[in-house]
Symmetry: C2
Subunit: 410 residues, 2 copies
């Protein structure tokens, strides 16, 4: 196993940011407020651009950008080379004098949205989640729509309101109408919820009119992050027929600040669940390498863990979602973000949204402080974390996506 020369205490043996992870982010410090690319390693952030300049790296320009977009646009061969280079800096003591001045304690780094989001697409790939939502939103119909097992259902969200972890979320106001009401009313959402998801970040673009095959997933996808797709269930329920979610989602979508490279997830691939219906060729992955990801996720409310959603149970994989999203010829751009959809398992303590955990508020969750929750209250803080298997029993960490609810305005 590769080991680092970094000073003892920098990278603990069980660190989620071990030497095999090396996720990318963008950070500033009080001393230097210019945004720059950082790589998390143990309890520190490496200023990747500064080290690249100090070592005369060919990739100094890419790593000295203010966002990850130029690096993401450079394509997989460059991603592989840059990752090998950063690994060398941290494992070859000859780089000590270049690296040591460019480490910042993680706690001193302010983390920013690491890339400029192009288009944002949200999928709906957990069978348990889709079944639960179908039962709650459409109690008189089959919970899964007839298309659900034939294609990964998705829709476009608002890329301009994707925010980095730690950004407060203002409770949205909007129209909502209970079935018994004669007309809609306006006011702050009373059913503010989360959706614990996993996000995939596109690096290499594609051409308009040219679908991306299942096998080309690794060519285009740069890395993985966590997503909290905040949802106002009362606004959503009233607005979403027939054209889908809009204001119930568009007020904020939070992403974790660290983008875990696909190369850090080599030990996390796992077989997706068996599919119940034959898939059309462009989605058929039965002969492909396992394309599910074995991520253990956790959702905490005000410091109390409320759920551990199992990502490996997702019916549709990220490769299938990418193939589907482009099969009509839609082009990919650097910075496209697509999210898995809420990650839910079959049991209550494995669900990734409060609407499922509390069954639309009917079965509130009891918190250790004696309070209960159907949905989120002002001041509540949600933290979603995840890890994946790494080499030799280590875990690859995704960090956290956090957000606190602020009261509605006006």
């Amino acid at each position: 196993m590769t080991s680092t020369w970094l000073p003892a205490g920098t990278v603990a043996a069980d660190s989620p940011f071990g030497i095999h992870n090396l996720p990318y982010g963008v950070f500033t410090t009080t001393e230097d407020p210019s945004p720059r690319i950082g790589v998390a390693v143990g309890n520190a952030v490496l200023d990747a651009g500064a080290v690249a300049q100090a070592t005369g790296s060919d990739h100094a320009a890419l790593l000295s950008a203010a966002t990850l977009n130029p690096l993401m646009a450079a394509g997989r061969p460059v991603w592989t080379t840059v990752r090998a280079e950063i690994t060398a800096w941290l494992t070859d003591p000859g780089y000590r004098h270049d690296v040591l001045p460019n480490l910042t304690p993680l706690q001193d780094a302010r983390l920013h949205l690491p890339f400029e989001v192009a288009d944002y697409v949200d999928f709906y790939a957990s069978e348990d989640h889709a079944t639960n939502l179908g039962r709650i939103f459409r109690p008189d119909s089959e919970p899964l729509t007839p298309n659900w097992k034939h294609l990964p259902i998705g829709y476009h969200g608002r890329s301009g309101t994707v925010v980095v972890s730690g950004t407060d979320v203002v409770r949205p106001s909007g129209q909502r109408k209970a079935p018994a009401d004669a007309a809609p009313t306006f006011g702050p959402s009373q059913r503010l919820d989360i959706e614990a998801e996993v996000g995939f970040v596109v690096g290499t673009p594609s051409k308009l009119g040219e679908p991306v095959a299942l096998a080309d997933f690794r060519t285009h996808v740069f890395g993985v992050c966590l997503v909290n797709d905040w949802s106002a269930r009362d606004i959503q329920a009233w607005e979403y027929v027939p054209l889908g979610p809009f204001l119930g989602k568009s007020f904020a979508t939070s992403v974790s600040p660290w983008i875990v490279p696909l190369d850090a997830l080599e030990h996390a691939w796992t077989a997706p669940p068996a599919r119940d219906v034959p898939l059309l060729p462009y989605l058929d992955d039965t002969a492909a390498a396992p394309a599910g990801l074995d991520l253990d996720m956790a959702v905490a409310l005000n410091g109390h863990e409320v759920s551990r959603p199992p990502f490996k149970g997702m019916y549709w994989t990220a490769a299938q979602q990418l193939a589907h999203m482009t099969v009509n010829g839609a082009a990919l751009r650097t910075g496209d973000l697509y999210a898995s959809g809420t990650v839910s398992g079959p049991d209550r303590d494995r669900r990734g949204a409060f609407i499922e955990i509390t069954w639309n508020g009917q079965d509130p969750l009891k918190l250790p402080d004696g309070t209960t929750r159907g949905f989120l209250e002002d001041g509540d803080e949600v933290v979603i974390t995840a890890t994946a298997p790494g080499p030799d029993g280590t875990r690859v960490g995704f960090g956290a996506v956090t957000g606190r609810i602020r009261p509605a305005v006006g």
Copy 2:
């Protein structure tokens, strides 16, 4: 009426690009392939940046950009000043020597996507269109969903596949399933359609968490263009429940190359239709100035006019759409584009989509060449144009959004 000193023949009395219009675009020429801001005037394009530099304008930097985004971001007071300045160049003969070298015949200009699209939202604001689509897609239900008259229904589309007029559209492939089929099949769309729409381009951004009031429409919206929201009806019908249109729309959305400033539309404002239900305060425009727009649109297929959609009949105005889109606190960015939804009137020759004109292909359209159309065939060219009332009986032209269908790939 203001008149121009431009040489006789440059601006005909009935030109859609008269001196009161002055729409903005981005153009190149064979001699100078660098994209730059142009203003259409008669049968010429004015190189706005070059004249601004020649005259020492304070806005030379904004007008010398490669896209309209910097000018759009500068805000309404700057838009007003810049428009007055350009008007002065074209009406005060003292500017003759600055202007004349910087005019290009319109036919020699290659027109580009004039702004970088941030988020793209598509609305659904024609009661006739929504009723027709409801009857076709959901024959067993009420055609208008219960929310339709309470809020302007909309959804996010794919901003990365917004293309400029003149870009060929490759017929998309995808899944489609007729009700009688046991399973979906895959192949080129057999029901490729248009949607004739009007687009609104956001200049001034807004802050996350702060709704934009009805009255602030003019503060934020820079101008207006034409939109063809290409739609694959077979793909759309199979995929869109429950989360809305996705691949049936995301392969291409064409926009006209000229952005008509709001200031050019002073004579086009008109009262929207009477509303059937009381509106919540954030949408209630009964006490506001008329916020409908009296645009006459025309749709031509292979040179033959097939429809004249009446924009003034739209149930929801652009100001209401903007207020709704932000009422949950969603932020606006410079470059946000939102489209009206298909513009359809009550009669067959006033409908803005073939699915309505031919009633889902059941009543094909006869063309002068003896052929018929249910939906679009490969090689078909669609041209959507529009004009609005200008001062003294003139018309303000929007130019055209055109597109030709290329065969499916693969």
